[in-house]
């Protein structure tokens, strides 16, 4: 006779939410944990400073008469066109502040999971590896987009409001697309770059050193190689230069470095491919054999 079992646990009759974004909980947790850090909140707020400066410039440009004394010799600087936007968005200081924010928000995204062996918990849930990586990338994407696409698209709107006409938009209808395109480039690049380095160590401090070290060292290396070989292509070793080159291209500006923009895109894409490979290798259930 078959054993009669008593089901003692509570059955749930509710319906499960449709899991269109199975990576959502990872993203939410990542963002929430970032905002718990005091230092992060400080740098995050500070990272909006360039956008506020741009807004100030935009306002002054529309009220030139009121600020005559202030801008007499700097009228050219306050010409609002795609160059103005590109100047802010591809600025070295803006990239620097973006990295500052990402260092606090995202350096531990994978490193902490490796340190706490959490991967096995994720992968014993109804999610795939791609959901895990997408969830982590979305954390980076959230912060990059909120510091780039959002404020600078808002600036375009402010420009129209301050001007009281659509003239600016009619002159540069592609500008919002440039802002979005460059923001997307920064998002994709930094998502891969930060996660690549985060997957290389279990120690967040090492990851922070790696993030800064790689970024700054690439710049220094590029300078040294250029001085040594006098080859303009050596600029391609600099992450900053490649981002600025790609940014200038997307805003339709004169390229800051005398190499084709496509080369910079290729370098950035190469780093993303390398990162995808490393992430594929590092994010899986691992048994440590001692």
């Amino acid at each position: 006779m078959a054993t009669i079992r008593e089901k003692g646990y509570a059955h749930w009759d509710g319906t499960l939410a449709e899991r269109r974004y199975p990576w959502g909980p990872i993203t939410r947790t990542g963002i929430r944990l970032a905002f718990r850090k005091k230092m992060f909140r400080f740098f995050f707020a500070g990272a909006f400073l360039p956008a506020f400066l741009a807004l100030g410039g935009l306002y002054i440009s529309e009220r030139l008469e009121d600020f005559k004394a202030l801008v007499q010799s700097n009228r050219a600087l306050l010409r609002i066109d795609p160059k103005y936007f590109a100047g802010f968005m591809t600025n070295t200081a803006v990239l620097f502040s973006l990295i500052f924010v990402l260092v606090f928000a995202a350096s531990g995204l994978i490193a902490d999971d490796l340190k706490h062996n959490s991967l096995q918990l994720y992968f014993s849930r109804p999610i795939r590896k791609k959901d895990y990586i997408l969830g982590k990338m979305s954390v980076v994407a959230f912060f990059v987009l909120i510091l780039t696409a959002v404020p600078y698209l808002v600036l375009v709107v402010f420009k129209l409001i301050f001007a009281g006409s659509f003239q600016f938009f009619l002159e540069y209808p592609w500008l919002p697309l440039s802002v979005l395109g460059y923001s997307a480039l920064l998002t994709v690049f930094f998502a891969f770059y930060i996660l690549l380095l985060s997957a290389l160590s279990k120690n967040t401090r090492y990851v922070i050193v790696l993030i800064w070290g790689t970024y700054l060292f690439s710049d220094a290396l590029s300078g040294i190689l250029f001085e040594t070989f006098r080859q303009r292509a050596m600029i391609l070793f600099s992450l900053r230069a490649n981002l600025q080159q790609a940014g200038a291209f997307l805003f339709g500006q004169k390229l800051p470095h005398p190499v084709p923009a496509v080369w910079s895109f290729a370098v950035l894409a190469g780093i993303c491919v390398l990162a995808a490979f490393v992430l594929h290798r590092k994010t899986r259930g691992v048994e440590v054999i001692k």
Binding site: R28, N117, S124, R125
Partner: protein, 308 residues
């Protein structure tokens, strides 16, 4: 009874290191103990059936469905890993609730389930404390809570009792038995035989990536009894003690350890020997300083079984 977990010719290699070698096993509902020394392949087996690794050779199915790359199956599986797996800066509640969200429950259901699971493991009071401040036992319990929070039909528990105090162990053993009585399938690993014995009579012995024996606990005990036990007795006068046992049929062999104070006895009848030793101490006035059984552990059993 239909097998819930079926492994067929399962092998897993880590480079040149053999994790699991040609393992075929069927696990039915109820509690099954996976017993083996550290590095035997228990965790590898558990990671294969929880879909975290792909086997190099063979196939594993859970409830008839393939495990690898089949995340929907994990709605029915609760996994409690051996190591600590926490974000220390999270509270116990956040940890359990965060993992529950992957199952697609709404916010209210997540909250309710997390609280219920934490209450089940007696952590309701401490649910809002940071995991950083949890004791070893509390960490073990919060790990168990995340494994049961979504009411899985299959529980995979990797060394769940390690680090728990006797009271905590008793409570967890009761919980696991309750799960069994509800008709669920529980696979528990341990390297401590009495722990497994307290949970189930169905045991699988794993050693060096292979299944060495499979059966109920009395059968495993028989395997152990088939080999002589080694008992060390440290005494001020080991030779006088040995003289009392010469000719005793229960004793296979007697040797003196290098320190000159320890008598090492090999016997099939451990209980008889202890009885006679007590007599010798009382009647002969021989002072005994320490009695130990160097092979009374699982590793020794495995060494016997593999004929080392």
């Amino acid at each position: 009874m239909t097998a819930v977990i079926v492994a067929s010719n399962l092998s897993k290699y880590y480079g040149n290191v053999l994790g699991l070698n040609d393992v075929s096993l069927e696990i039915e509902s109820g509690v099954t103990g996976l017993l083996g020394p550290n590095g035997a392949g228990k965790s590898t087996f558990m990671k294969l059936i929880t879909g975290q690794m792909k086997p190099n050779i063979g196939r594993v199915t859970v409830r008839g469905g393939k495990v690898w790359n089949n995340p929907d199956l994990f709605r029915a599986i609760g996994f409690c890993p051996e190591q600590d797996v926490f974000y220390e800066e999270m509270t116990g509640f956040e940890f359990v609730a965060g993992l529950l969200r992957f199952h697609g429950y709404g916010p209210a259901e997540v909250r309710e389930r997390a609280v219920r699971a934490l209450d089940t493991v007696d952590l309701a009071k401490d649910k809002d404390r940071l995991i950083r401040g949890y004791s070893r036992g509390m960490r073990q319990r919060v790990k168990f809570a995340q494994a049961i929070a979504h009411d899985p039909d299959i529980l995979i528990l990797d060394e769940p009792l390690s680090g728990l105090d006797p009271l905590g162990k008793r409570k967890l053993i009761k919980l696991i038995k309750d799960f069994k009585n509800e008709g669920r399938t529980v696979l528990v690993s341990s390297h401590v035989l009495p722990e497994i014995e307290a949970l189930t009579s169905r045991v699988v012995l794993v050693h060096q990536g292979k299944i060495l024996a499979q059966g109920d606990v009395p059968y495993i005990r028989e395997l152990i009894e088939a080999h002589p036990h080694m008992i060390s007795v440290r005494s001020s006068n080991p030779r006088a003690l040995a003289a009392r046992f010469v000719g005793d049929p229960a004793i296979q062999k007697m040797t003196f350890a290098a320190d000159g104070r320890t008598l090492v006895v090999e016997t099939h009848k451990r209980d008889d020997f202890y009885g006679r030793l007590t007599g010798a101490v009382l009647e002969g006035g021989i002072e005994v300083e320490e009695i130990s059984s160097p092979d009374d552990n699982l590793q020794a059993v495995f060494e016997y079984l593999v004929g080392k």
